[in-house]
Symmetry: C3
Subunit: 438 residues, 3 copies
């Protein structure tokens, strides 16, 4: 595989940010037109398949819910003035609210209002997917200003049989063993969670599409929880092809990278991501798997136990802007998304290059000097560090250690060991045996 | 099994302390009437079997010794005044002293006297079980006052064929796999070591007798070393039924709890005790197994290697009052014994509840919300922590992890995970498979 | 085996230092008369076999090189004065320099000169074994004084078919399982690296020759890299007999001991050396295996993967005097060589005594008291520490733990556990089963 990193990262950063900005106003939910139109926009970038699964379909212990759509919503005072309006922010309506049109006392209304007293200017994001109800989310300042005796409320939504939509795109590789890249795409006007994940995934798919990778890469754009459950239920036999996977979310904020391990904890994906982060030179955090978070909960349920981790910047719930109107176009910045994007590319490159090799001269060291790849007097062309990489690969290439194992034992970056491996292959001092090339 | 913890702990504390006070004056040894009468008093609390093993019985590499009894002992000056008297403290006589009646010079007497110069008011406790000799233990103050030229000594003891006595009580459970609770009961007037262990064991047996536990609980009241060796020799075939065990000693002093691991180091009992202590909120210490201490030396000999640890407060030899007259009714306090007792109860509850369960919906999470045990908007009734416990149990209940494993991975107290397990069992989301219920 | 440590260590220290002083002036290389005459001197101490392997012999990926010999070399100014002379120090000539006799401009000469600007009085040590070239090593002061326009250079060396020489000596043991002691012997006037290693090995061989050890001990005196490769190529079938091995180098400097683990990292030799160093009471360092250093690179190549570590004082490259004329008779001191020698002896003693034993009374403790090896009242003759050693051995001698395992679990020095093992063997409380005695 040729190197993945595109030359012009600034351009890519602007493009990813532009996609986020374009998707930002759309009112997405776990079903409905908002999700569907989002997928259609993604099709401008990658040849995404858009799948529809009818309401009522049984998916393991769950049922695909009715489809939700919304046209308008407001709270008006009796003078007919909109004091809360869906047009201003789609966060104002509790997502999946049932239709309502009524005149209510201030106290009755209050029971359907949600705000964040600690952040009086921010609108919270709330959902009620599996319990039929309705409500409005407002800034605490607005909530406190609602002191008239009666209000008129209207939510012009529908909850009816329809379908659940999800997007899927496969970059075919040399083998049918797959790398899964999954991102939840159901949130309305929230940038970090998870328009940033959608944008990163789309551009990663575009990069990979220009190569012939070793693994096949499956990109899923699904509604959270019900979407991954649905995909797993419809592709149950297929799941075992997934050799590695990452759930992409919250990749545009200024925080450090955070990797949440797969349930296995020591899967190749866990080790590759930790290695890349360790050698990044930047602060990062590794978190153990916990059965809470994003769709890794489903991929890592005990009946699947797939090697799927989640690589974010600041994780869900750990930044104050999380699930509020402050997770906006100012909170995510192109430079952070680009930094996340580069990390994902390095991980892909390491997964692609990680293999098990055999030293073809395992008894004593081969004479590197006469092959011109080891200094006779003094260090070689690339210096002593690279000679050490050659010696490490030769010493450990006994069919038991992967490139990653060698990099970790040598305490060197993966790419140095991978480069040494390439040179030794070229000099026929190493080989990969056929049945392990997959 | 219903919860074990009795409502009125203060009452239990007073009762345990009362039993200690009642047993305190008796001159026990590894054989003889003192041990026998102690067992008879315990029969007032639990239906203890009192077993007698004749002197001379071969028990592995050892032989049951002659029975020792003592009526009186003293050192008199030539004016006929008792300067040392068995009536004042049974510690004054080296335990297992052979009979003697003689007039000795001060120098000859001196060779049979033992004291503790660093604690001039305390009488040491000494024994000579396996080497025939005699002696007196005195406070250093008394020793220094013996400056007359001659003394009369008398030890009115007997060492003759008889038997070794031990007490045994089995609380039957649903299976014949056993939990062994063993305490040495051979020490004379020493409260912490080990009247405290006797009292705790008796009251633990009483609690368990009111339930129908899963395990059978075997309580042994044995003379140290020779008693456990005798029991193991007579019950060699039976020993493999012991699934878990604890040697109870020194549980009434003010020190922190100390758990000495079984020889295995990672047996279930080791992990359960450590878990309970870790979540106790109080300081504690874990010690590795060493082949020195109490009867765990025998239970953990390599030919048995039973999973038996020892849970004490301050261990043998690590408090200055150890094996002296200062290990008295002021040194042990009811509140410390009650605290130890509660810890033992929690351990029993955890052993009883620890099991391996299977998630019956292992593919993706089951929909807890429609079962009313997971919050739809916001946290559920018991809050987010308990929801996390439900998710942890579901995620890890794959037949490989026990309740304890789950509690440790979730970093939650055992009882929270056990409670979540109960609820999921009730909702038929979990099961224990038949052959693993034992 | 009787104890190895000779009574008169001061004498041994002086003898080893004397051997170093005698070998110091000789110009050794990886082949040639200097190496050969060195071996002949060693034959005065041990009955060493001197082997010759013809130039051109294929040894794995390498070829035995032409033999190098040198008679004289100098740089003269045009007044005929030697400004650099081989007679003053054999380090002045780049080892394996091809013959040259020429008149050169100062600039041309400069390209063949090597110095150490940071240490202006020291002559560096350089080699060019596998690339035909020539050069002079000089102190930086001399280099800077060469400011005349032209010089005459002469290297009166020869590079021609001949042979590679190495020395080999086997002390036969009770089994044919071997301990390998290997030291590179190709360096010219450098004392720590590696005349110190040669001297230590010779005197260790002399000590062992006076005993009948359990293992056979193979001593190799080989030219670095090509020598161990040659030995391995000629003894390929034999290599699997090597049960443990050490590469001896840099054992005379004032630094602390440093053990570089074998590639396996947890081989018995690794554990024994670490144990001995840990209980030495002196500072020491353990380093992980890296595929760089001395001949352990070859012994630990993946096709052999022999349990061979390297025990030095300050390792190669980590002291400023390394590979310079400052690695001289003042840098190494008898007391440091003796200290290294004692450490090697302790390691040999531990390898010899390390075995797996069975407790013949595994059920409960045997009654040590009646055998007189355990105190009845108070501690026994050797005190409580030794009684603990007896109890540890009995408790762990279940056929799974070696003497070393027991010493580590007991946190006691190996020799204490070995002594306890001897006593228990004498009392027929332990046995070594036949098939494990090898």
């Amino acid at each position: 595989m040729q190197p993945l990193l595109p030359g012009d990262l600034e351009h890519i950063g602007a493009d990813m940010y532009g996609l986020i900005a374009r998707l930002y106003p759309i009112c997405r939910s776990i079903t409905g037109e908002g999700f569907r139109s989002t997928m259609r926009i993604l099709q401008e970038f990658i040849p995404l398949a858009i799948n529809e699964v009818p309401s009522g379909t049984k998916v393991f212990d769950w049922t695909v819910p009715k489809e939700w759509n919304i046209r308008d919503a407001y709270v008006k005072n009796l003078r007919g003035e909109r004091v809360v309006s869906f047009n201003e922010s789609n966060l104002h309506v509790v997502n999946y609210s049932t239709p309502v049109k009524a005149r209510l006392s201030r106290d009755e209304l209050q029971r359907h209002l949600f705000s964040i007293p600690e952040h009086p200017k921010w609108i919270p994001y709330r959902t009620s997917y599996y319990k039929e109800s309705w409500g409005f989310c407002v800034s605490h300042e607005v909530l406190e200003s609602l002191n008239e005796p009666e209000y008129e409320v209207c939510i012009d939504s529908s909850l009816a049989n329809g379908s659940l939509t999800y997007g899927e795109y496969l970059v075919p590789g040399k083998t049918d063993r797959e790398v899964l890249i999954s991102c939840h795409s159901c949130h309305p006007s929230l940038c970090n969670d998870n328009l940033s994940g959608i944008a990163l995934s789309v551009f990663l798919a575009r990069c990979l599409n220009q190569t012939r990778p070793r693994y096949s890469y499956r990109f899923l754009f699904v509604p959270g929880t019900i979407g991954s459950i649905t995909w797993l239920a419809l592709n149950e036999q297929h799941a075992s092809r997934i050799a590695h996977g990452l759930v992409v979310a919250c990749v545009g904020d200024p925080g450090q990278m955070n990797y949440k391990q797969s349930r296995r904890g020591n899967a190749e994906i866990d080790r590759v991501v930790e290695h890349v982060l360790k050698h990044s030179g930047k602060p990062y955090k590794i978190s153990r798997f916990v059965p809470y978070g994003y769709d890794e909960r489903q991929y890592c349920s005990p009946g699947f136990n797939l090697p799927v981790g989640s690589l974010t910047r600041t994780p869900n719930g750990q930044y104050p802007e999380y699930h509020t109107s402050a997770d906006n176009l100012e909170f995510v910045r192109p430079e952070h998304i680009v930094d996340s994007f580069k990390t994902y590319l390095e991980i892909v490159e390491a997964l692609e290059a990680n293999g098990i090799y055999y030293n073809l001269n395992p008894k004593c060291e081969p004479q590197l000097g006469r092959r011109g790849i080891y200094g006779s007097v003094g260090g070689g062309e690339r210096g002593h560090g690279f000679e050490m990489a050659l010696l490490w690969v030769l010493n450990l290439a006994d069919g038991h250690a992967s490139t990653l194992d060698i990099a970790e034992k040598a305490e060197m970056p993966f790419h140095t060991i991978a480069e040494a491996t390439e040179i030794l292959l070229k000099h026929r001092l190493l080989e990969m045996r056929e049945d392990e090339a997959g």
